[in-house]
């Protein structure tokens, strides 16, 4: 083996080592649907939320969390068969909220968050809505989405997560799982 080839091989190995160190993601949060508040027809089924359908089946699940934003991934399944609603909401430490609404889904029945400010006044913070998210496996960047339609993401923390589902077709099983925030 010539000296030149060895040097090139060493350089390649070094580049690979650096790339290997940098390319691994760190999971900040992973949702197992333990805890939180569940209402309506949604059921927890081994680390996934499922709406089994049935006429006018609908439900919501929400939970307080505390994590930094980052990249975001989840998987959801279901079809728009008419009266279809499927969304994922993240709430932030500044009363903002960001909805991801599935392709064909009706909108969540909320326009934003009402809260009391430090002076005891009732305030309203409108939510931002990103629609047209295809079902299947989804990857987003919360920093990017927040920066595009909410504002500066500095000092931002995620304080809540919620899922809403509705379907009027008992053959239409809606499910969401593998919700992860990572960087």
């Amino acid at each position: 083996m010539s000296r030149k080839i060895i040097i090139i091989a060493v350089c390649c190995l070094l580049v690979f080592a650096v790339w290997s160190l940098q390319s691994r993601s760190v999971t900040l949060y992973e949702e197992s649907f333990e805890g939180g508040f569940l209402k309506g027809d949604i059921i927890k089924n081994s680390k996934e939320l499922v709406l089994n359908g049935g006429i006018n089946g609908e439900g919501e699940w929400n939970k307080s969390i505390d994590t930094l934003p980052g990249k975001l991934a989840w998987e959801w399944e279901g079809k728009d068969t008419g009266d279809f609603q499927f969304w994922l909401r993240f709430s932030f430490n500044n009363h903002k909220s960001l909805y991801y609404v599935a392709d064909g889904s009706k909108n969540p029945p909320y326009e934003g968050e009402y809260y009391m400010d430090e002076e005891g006044r009732r305030r309203f913070s409108p939510a931002s809505v990103i629609s047209g998210i295809t079902t299947g496996k989804v990857e987003r960047d919360i920093y990017e989405d927040y920066g595009a339609c909410c504002g500066s993401a500095d000092e931002l923390k995620i304080t809540g997560i919620a899922v809403g589902m509705a379907s009027d077709n008992d053959q239409n099983e809606l499910k969401i799982y593998n919700i992860k925030i990572f960087n």
Binding site: S20, T27, E30, N107, G132, T134, C150, K180
Partner: protein, 552 residues
């Protein structure tokens, strides 16, 4: 050499071990994220990344660039088709969408066909479409009651370009994506910007020893003319005169120039000018001598027939009234009305940016918080106003009178809007023990004098901008020197046609980390440009940055 190779191999293996995904929260499962789905041939499939319903349309982003695309949006019985030029991954359709309505979207491009549907929400979302980093500046200071960061931003009347003026004398022109067309530097601090109605000239006012008004060609940046207001106003090295307002009509422009001196006591000097658009001085008001009072603002009716302004004493030391003047375009006085000082709290009265005219009405908001509405036809007969409201006038808290500074006023259709500033003690050396209930607020009345709503902004806003159809109001909100709450900084948009109270009218808020110091809305209401400036907190930490953002 073999030792080196062995060492590198160990390093590679070790790096793989230490870089395993780790859970920083309460979870413990590790999994790397799979790549974006590919089709059977291994070619990446293009899909919709996002659909955002903005105030004036639907913005669509695809996961990868598409070319030669035709986008069709159908909903609510209408079909809109648009051909996209070139290659792009972000585009928008102008459409007045109806809330909670299904819109089907089909994109046919060289790369394939994408179809999906989306329901419009009840409220629009903001969308950042441009960002321009600006030069480093000394940050705003949360502990100071005054502002040391200034800037101006203005859309052209045709809605196609944005002018930006900075306190250090830079004038810049941008397109709607934030691409700079040209840049100029003048000697003074830029205080105000205005376009000619045909968008071909940009007028710039400055604070300097010359107090120049400049005209620039908007396409080339060439200086067409300038006029030094100091030649009749006088000047001073320490207290230079300034142009505080330029208002343009189809054939002329009206300018407010003023200065003050502080030696043993304050003295004030001000004047109104009318120019034609070629820079020829038509008249000065007063014709021979300057006002020895302050003038900060003027407004002109849409038909150009009525010009209103007010003299006063913002120093609260000269013992004078605030006097509102209505004149015609030839400087003939139609009427005047004097507002007495609000005693015992103030010795003088003044009006900051709180004077505005519509075709039939004139409103004034005094700095001490009194709002008036006049009928242009009735004042000369009755010598009185139609109605008056106390908006920010002093209230006593623990025997200390506090008031909300009266900042700006506009008449928008049937709405009369007032913008208030910080809470101040009436008068120094006291300190305000709490916020005035109406401080840093946008307050609406109808033209009959009935209170409509009050939106609490939490931070200081330096002016109201409104779309040509009086539908959308945009406000840049900055620091609050009393609460020091930085979470309220940002750009606020209200829809005046939306039914309900102030919260109902709030369309969206786009937050900025630093203070939002200026904003403007494009005439058709589609775009909003705003300037953010960094802010120094009490801890010494500096948050935010100096930049211009363009939103839709």
């Amino acid at each position: 050499m073999k030792k080196w190779i062995l060492l590198i191999l160990i390093l590679v293996i070790f790096s793989g071990c230490v870089a395993q995904p780790k859970v920083e929260n309460q979870q413990n499962e590790n999994e790397t994220i799979a790549p974006i789905a590919s089709n059977e041939s291994g070619v990446k499939e293009i899909a919709i990344d996002s659909v955002i319903f903005t105030r004036t349309g639907i913005a669509i982003k695809t996961t990868d660039a598409i070319s030669q695309a035709t986008v069709t949006i159908s909903g609510n019985g209408t079909i809109i088709r648009k051909n996209l030029e070139g290659t792009t991954s972000s585009f928008s359709h102008d459409i007045q969408w109806i809330p909670d309505t299904r819109y089907d979207i089909e994109i046919v491009s060289k790369e394939g066909t994408i179809s999906l549907s989306a329901y419009s929400p009840s409220r629009a979302s903001p969308l950042l479409i441009g960002e321009v980093k600006l030069e480093d500046i000394t940050p705003e200071n949360i502990s100071q009651g005054w502002s040391n960061v200034k800037g101006s931003v203005k859309f052209s009347p045709n809605g196609k370009i944005i002018a930006l003026g900075s306190d250090d004398g830079f004038i810049r022109i941008y397109d709607l994506q934030g691409n700079q067309a040209w840049e100029k530097k003048i000697a003074g601090n830029i205080t105000t910007l205005a376009f000619s109605l045909d968008s071909r000239q940009l007028f710039v006012g400055e604070r300097s020893q010359d107090a120049n008004i400049y005209s620039f060609d908007t396409s080339s940046g060439e200086e067409k003319w300038k006029y030094g207001a100091a030649q009749v106003l006088g000047t001073d090295v320490k207290y230079p005169p300034a142009i505080s307002r330029i208002k343009v009509t189809d054939n002329s422009m009206y300018v407010v120039a003023s200065r003050y001196l502080k030696k043993h006591q304050y003295s004030l000097v001000s004047r109104i000018y009318r120019f034609d658009l070629a820079g020829n001085l038509q008249w000065k008001m007063p014709p021979t001598n300057n006002y020895l009072l302050s003038i900060n603002w003027l407004d002109v009716s849409k038909d150009g027939q009525t010009i209103v302004y007010a003299t006063g004493d913002w120093t609260n030391s000269l013992g004078t009234d605030a006097t509102i003047y209505s004149i015609d375009q030839d400087a003939r006085q139609q009427w005047s009305y004097s507002i007495k000082p609000l005693k015992p709290y103030f010795t003088s009265a003044s009006i900051w940016q709180g004077i505005a005219v519509s075709d039939d009405s004139i409103t004034a908001l005094t700095s001490d918080g009194r709002a008036y509405l006049f009928s242009n036809a009735n004042v000369s007969k009755t010598d009185s106003y139609e109605w008056k409201a106390n908006i920010g006038t002093p209230i006593e808290v623990t025997k200390i009178p506090i008031y909300a500074y009266g900042d700006s006023a506009i008449i928008a259709g049937e709405n009369v809007l007032y913008l208030t500033g910080y809470t101040f003690p009436a008068y120094y050396p006291n300190k305000a023990p709490m916020e005035h209930p109406n401080a840093t607020s946008l307050i609406a009345y109808d033209k009959q004098g009935n209170f409509s709503w009050n939106y609490k902004l939490e931070g200081y806003s330096r002016g109201i901008s409104i779309s040509r159809d009086n539908k959308y109001v945009a406000l840049a909100v900055g620091k609050n020197i009393l609460t020091k709450d930085a979470s309220s900084h940002g750009v606020y948009v209200l829809d005046l046609e939306r039914k309900g109270g102030a919260s109902s009218k709030l369309e969206w808020v786009y937050q900025t980390e630093g203070v939002a110091i200026a904003s403007d809305i494009s005439p058709e209401g589609k775009y909003i440009a705003a300037i953010e400036a960094p802010l120094k907190l009490e801890s010494g930490e500096i948050i935010g940055e100096h930049r211009m953002i363009i939103l839709t």
